[in-house]
């Protein structure tokens, strides 16, 4: 790097640029938090949905699945599984309930979690709520 560009100039770019970027990022984030209610469908977060998210986390579903494209890539995307399953929470419940404890021979398998009816309803409601978030039209199609 040229001699005319001194170390203190470099330091000033770092400090100025870094602080400016952080401040701008915090302001943008603040704005986003303000407009999120129009998109994240939060008025539909019922106690069932809240329980569902807890069940989701307590069983580490994200360790195999993606949800809105984030997580693991071993098993189907679940952000839109409610629509994929014909807008049916019962279909989701039926699927989760019917996993064989020993897995499906040779096929990628999902554990049997032995969830209670309440927890199953919670998970299904949580996935239904998730499918109603405004995600800028993602995923591209029903297969997720």
């Amino acid at each position: 790097m040229s001699e005319r560009f001194t170390k203190s100039m470099a330091r000033n770019i770092y400090l100025g640029g870094g602080v400016f970027s952080l401040l701008l990022f915090f302001s943008l984030s603040y704005h986003t938090l303000g407009v999120l209610p129009e998109r994240d469908n939060r008025h539909n977060i019922t106690p069932e949905v809240a329980l569902g998210k807890k069940v989701w986390e307590d069983n580490n579903c994200v360790g195999c699945h993606t949800i809105l494209g984030e997580g693991a890539y071993f098993a189907p995307e679940l952000g839109n599984v409610y629509t994929r399953f014909g807008n049916s929470t019962e279909a989701i419940i039926g699927f989760i309930e019917s996993r064989p404890a020993e897995g499906v021979p040779g096929r990628r398998s999902m554990p049997q979690f032995n969830l209670t009816r309440e927890e199953l309803v919670g998970i299904a409601e949580f996935l239904k709520w998730t499918s109603e978030i405004d995600t800028n039209n993602w995923p591209p199609n029903i297969e997720g």
Partner: protein, 463 residues
């Protein structure tokens, strides 16, 4: 050979890092097998459990590596002994025991049982990618990291202050601060995801780049003898670009999770600049090596350093850029392309910088300027085996990803996820094969610490 006796506390940290790295990779092999033989080890070790072990061991060994690096380089930069070597040793054992217990918890108890046992109902933070640790483990991590930063901070602030030590300290403080967002887990999934990225993205594409830059700069000063002024100027420009591009670049994760549309623009534009600091790191490393004023006998360390610079740029810069523009990411989001990039970026930038400082520091801690001829030959073999197989893994996953996107997301008649996975199995076989070679490379690396110990160390050839 060490300038300060307390630098030796880095040694257990480096050993633990390498041991956990071995564990990480063995679980990677399990995962890769489960991709092909779906019920392999099922239901004893389901995929999600093996994956948690794989990714959490990665984060933990990198943290051990960063801590070891700091304990080694800060006394030398500060020109004084470490504030408290004893604290460093206490924290080492605390962190190691907590890590091992957590991993055993993953393996021996069903995850929901672990959640119940550790009070996840009281303060739920578990069950999110990379942040699967029980809340008490997270609290433990905070305590260890704060103790560590206190130790390093006291040393830096009461000694000679160099750009390297200040930048390193800033990066470490940032690491601790952003980790605090791991404790915020709102019921609203969109908010949860929004702040989850403040840990993950602002780590790897923010504050960790400061740590990476500082360690790289330190090693380059040592092995090239280039003037500190020059190196420090480079370091400032690199981290300036990292923050200017990477902070708002967080927006490349705010495309499709419920956040407003303006992030499509902000995220694309700023993250498109993110390769710049990585490219500058490559220029920096090669420039300094070609302008070297001494031929340091540790040739292996130079190789690791150059390898870091190149593969960080390829993995983070090139593979990151590939899917960072919103119209592309619309199709590739959460596909094997993401996994391809995640692997080469983590390996190229962070795994390699830790191995770089280990390569430089370990011989010195063991009382030599550099490893013997044989040691270095094994290290170089390990480097090439691991680097080339990781590139192969990346290419295999990229092939898988392109086909996955095509078949499942772009075709007229899209295939289901599971059917798509079956039809791209070839690439997963390739990944498994390359993973086995990677593991062999890692064993060669471990062996390099045991071979050639009786030979005389390589000495300084020219001054």
């Amino acid at each position: 050979m060490m300038k300060y006796e307390s630098q030796a506390v880095a040694k257990p940290y480096f050993i633990a890092a390498i041991a956990l790295f071995v564990g990480q990779v063995l679980f990677g092999l399990i995962l890769a097998t489960q991709y092909l033989i779906g019920d392999f080890l099922f239901p004893e070790i389901p995929f999600n459990v093996a994956r948690m072990v794989h990714t959490n061991l990665l984060i933990i060994w990198l943290l051990f590596g960063f801590m070891g690096a700091s304990y080694f380089l800060v006394p030398e930069e500060s020109e004084r002994e470490l504030y408290s070597p004893k604290l460093a040793i206490i924290l080492f054992w605390t962190f190691l025991i907590a890590s091992v217990l957590t991993v055993l918890g993953y393996l021996l108890v069903p995850y929901s049982g672990l959640a119940a046992m550790t009070g996840n109902d009281i303060w739920p933070t578990m069950g999110r990618e990379f942040l699967e640790q029980p809340t008490i483990t997270k609290i433990g991590i905070v305590i260890v990291v704060l103790g560590f930063i206190f130790n390093i901070g006291m040393t830096v602030l009461s000694g000679r202050k160099t750009v390297i030590s200040i930048v390193l300290l800033t990066g470490l403080v940032g690491l601790a601060v952003f980790f605090l967002f791991a404790f915020y887990n709102p019921v609203n999934l969109v908010l949860d995801k929004f702040f989850w990225w403040w840990v993950i993205h602002l780590w790897v594409e923010g504050v960790w780049e400061l740590i990476l830059g500082a360690i790289l700069a330190f090693v380059l000063i040592k092995v090239t003898g280039v003037d500190r002024e020059v190196i420090e100027k480079w370091l400032y420009v690199i981290i300036a670009m990292a923050l200017i591009s990477g902070v708002i670049g967080t927006g490349h994760h705010y495309f499709f999770i419920g956040t407003p549309e303006y992030w499509l623009w902000l995220g694309s534009i700023f993250s498109a600049l993110e390769p710049i600091p990585f490219f500058m790191m490559t220029l920096f490393a090669f420039n300094m090596v070609s302008r070297r004023r001494r031929d340091h006998p540790n040739k292996a360390a130079v190789l690791w350093a150059l390898g870091t610079a190149v593969l960080a740029f390829v993995g983070a810069g090139v593979w990151g850029f590939m899917h960072t523009l919103a119209p592309v990411n619309y199709y590739t989001h959460g596909s094997q392309i993401t996994a391809a990039h995640g692997h080469l970026a983590f390996f190229g930038a962070y795994a390699l910088i830790v191995m770089t400082i280990i390569s430089y520091a370990m011989p010195i801690i063991r009382g030599q300027v550099a490893g013997s001829e044989t040691t270095q030959r094994w290290e170089k073999w390990a480097f090439w085996l691991m680097a080339s197989s990781m590139v192969t893994i990346t290419l295999a996953l990229t092939g898988a990803g392109v086909l996955q996107v095509w078949l499942q997301r772009m075709a007229e008649e899209p295939m289901s996820f599971m059917a798509t996975q079956d039809s791209i199995a070839f690439f997963y076989w390739l990944r498994l094969a390359a993973g086995i070679v990677f593991t062999m490379g890692l064993f060669v690396y471990v062996a390099s610490f045991f071979v050639g110990q009786k030979e005389p160390p390589r000495s300084i050839t020219t001054e």
